[in-house]
């Protein structure tokens, strides 16, 4: 009984803390710069958040299982290079190719993890290196700017519908799909069970390896999609296009309240986390913080978020 009483308060608080943080941040930045609360700024904010959110959503599936995917930024960059190199020849097929390469990379990371029993952070760190080098070699170490003809294929990313940027709509579609997968399918439930108690999930007949591989496939596929969208928005492909996005993506997942140890979390939380990161980023720009110094803040935020979301009474030992 003492557990129930002692934990009810802090647990509820912990659950709503990210959303409260977001609201407060928006209010604070809004008061300092009223222009921030104008519709055009908010649409810009949402558009800027989309890529980060899609990357973070993919890695959420892996973190829910108790794993980590460190290859996502390299995957996204490689996807941008693939699009830039092949869109002239394949048209829309270039996007399919890039996302398919993502799925394949995720499959390989997942298999390395479950079949060869390589810890996920090593398997995906190594995969990230492979993908980064592939992007470097195939792009001949340069940034490839899309030509005018190529850009015609990018309107599904850069266009608007009734004034709403397409990229926001894509983000919402990703949200709907990912939320359904996570909250309403067996895969989502099994992921939570594996993250929270793998031996019990295994003993209950859950095909643990299959779920894990699927999560890595999702993570890399979403990363590739994020890279494709980034290529469209920046009208270029480059091996370093997404180079600064790994840290903010993982920070978004954790700031939203998904436990880095797995088992507890949701896509909604990742959305809130991604918005927090975006608002902080824009807030820093308003405050005149050097753009290259932003990862200092995100690093600090990540550590603070993990420290707050882990209930230390439940997890005595952290490695």
């Amino acid at each position: 009984m003492q557990n129930i009483f002692a934990r009810l308060g802090p647990d509820k608080l912990r659950q709503w803390l990210p959303l409260a943080t977001l609201v407060i941040l928006v209010a604070v930045v809004g008061v300092m710069q009223p222009v921030f609360l104008e519709l055009s700024t908010l649409l810009q904010l949402a558009s800027d958040t989309a890529v980060l959110f899609i990357l973070a959503t993919g890695v959420t599936f892996v973190i829910m299982l108790g794993g980590i995917d460190l290859s996502i930024q390299s995957m996204a960059s490689l996807a941008s290079v693939i699009v830039a190199l092949t869109v002239a020849r394949y048209g829309y097929g270039a996007f399919v190719l890039a996302v398919a390469v993502g799925a394949l990379a995720g499959l390989l990371s997942g298999l390395a993890h479950v079949r060869l029993k390589v810890p996920s952070f090593i398997a995906t760190l190594a995969m990230g290196g492979v993908l980064f080098s592939t992007a470097l070699v195939s792009s001949k170490e340069r940034s490839i700017t899309l030509g005018d003809v190529d850009r015609n294929y990018q309107t599904w990313v850069t266009g608007t519908v009734f004034g709403v940027p397409n990229v926001i709509i894509i983000g919402l579609i990703v949200l709907a799909i990912a939320h359904t997968l996570q909250a309403h399918t067996r895969f989502g439930r099994y992921s939570a069970a594996i993250g929270a108690g793998e031996p019990a999930a295994y003993a209950s007949g859950v095909k643990v390896d299959r779920q894990k591989v699927f999560a890595y496939v999702l993570s890399a596929t979403f990363a590739a999609l994020a890279g494709v969208i980034l290529a469209g928005r920046l009208a270029s492909g480059s091996p370093t296009l997404a180079a600064e996005l790994l840290l903010p993506s993982i920070a978004a997942v954790v700031v939203g309240g998904t436990a880095i140890t797995g088992g507890v979390g949701s896509i909604w939380r990742t959305l809130v986390g991604a918005l927090i990161i975006s608002v902080v980023r824009i807030g820093m720009t308003f405050l005149g913080v050097n753009i290259f110094a932003q990862n200092i803040v995100f690093g600090a935020v990540l550590i603070a978020a993990v420290a707050i979301t882990i209930d230390r009474s439940k997890i005595p030992i952290v490695k």
């Binding site: 129930i4 399918t185 939570a192 019990a200 003993a203 209950s204 859950v206 088992g263």
Partner: protein, 508 residues
Amino acid sequence: MNGLPVASALSLVHVDKRFPGVHALKDVSIEVRRGEVIGLVGENGAGKSTLMKILSGVYQPDSGKIEIAGQPTRFENAADANRKGIGMVFQEQSLLTNLTVGENIYLGNEAQFTRYGIVNWKALYAAASRQLSKVQVDVDPRMRADDLDFAARQMVELAKALTLEEHASDHLVILLDEPTSVLERAEIDVLFARVRALKSRASFIFVSHRLDEVLELSDRIYVMKDGAVVADLVAADANITTLHHLMVGRSLQAEYYREPLQKAFREEIVLEVDELSLGNAYKNISFKLHAGEILGIAGVIGSGREELARTLAGFAPHSSGKLRVANREVHLVSPAEAVDIGIGYIPRERRVEGLVLFLPVAANITLADLENLTRHGLIDAREERRLATSWVDRLKIRTPSINTLCLNLSGGNQQKVVLAKWLNAKARILILDHPTRGLDVGAKEEVYELVRAVTTEGVAVILTSDTLEETIGLSHSLLVMRDGEITYRAEANPGHKPSQIDLIGHMV
């Protein structure tokens, strides 16, 4: 009782302890005299653990005092209690398996062997040898702890507790918290003999769910109920019935194992093993299991019964012989395959393999059968709530709601959730691997009643238990295993159950 020592070693005087919402200890006074073995019994939740945590310095009392040899004292923390002569032998074995025995014994106390930051291993191991000789166990202190069996590890823990003699100023008091839960009978005898031999050096407080062992080892017994001490008995004057009565407020009835509910099983054979073998673990095992039958397997650690149960649950594929389930030959390479053909496993490690503690009751109940809850790829949440609610009602699972994390349930209710999971998955065969381990008497009875109820509906059960009494009491049929082979088979019809002695002869 003329020889009873009278000098007080450790006492608690009018100790009170509250947690939010719980009055865990109510005006508890106990006294441990020099050279005495005190038994401490009570159902889960009676306050035993809180009491032990106060005695070992983990908790501090809200009011009341602690006295050592009559002098008031205070334990700031566990290390402080250690320094003042309170040792602890844990239920969960606390040895670090990747360290040597000697390193374990002096873990955290290496300073005495250290000069300029360098440990003198020779001196440490020599000292460890002396400690081991106190408990008369023949173990090389340079062996790694994971090379020892559980019984030897328990002895090493005891030796470790005795190192406190070196710096504690006074008589030692050693807390033994469920030390026998992973030991077999012969090993328990050795442990008890050592404890008796050490009475000149230390007093002991022995906590156990096994009342027969408490009676056997203790000089005096304190019975706890609802946070208070309800009786202080001389062990020689007590028996299981009186203890049981004091603990639960009702007496142990003859139908403890619900024998009147033991119905004849059916003709239908649900599982058949023929000359089944697995490496060195077990060999040439043959038996038939019928619908509604409870087949109890008795045997000591190393008899192969544990591995056999794991094979049937899909964890350890057999290497030769035949396994037929519902007349189809199978070779189970994962629990998923076992679950698919209707086998459910109720593990001894309830909190690790039985439940996902951080998931709600409902999600745990449906975990093994989500396929049937899925419509067009999505989990039917309403149907899930309905199913979970109905299982909670039918098995009388005491939980605030179906959304409560299993973490917050008592052991007995957790075990009912595990059972509900397999009933929901329509398992036809249940492997019960020590199903009542760590449960109090009341919770055990509820588990027995549920097991009887499901077998009446035709579910077949393979049972490996902690106690022979439970194996015999519940089973229709009995197998005894020794060194990987079946040495004895017996029927166990109500009123004609074999005695424990009948089986023991075939076990060792």
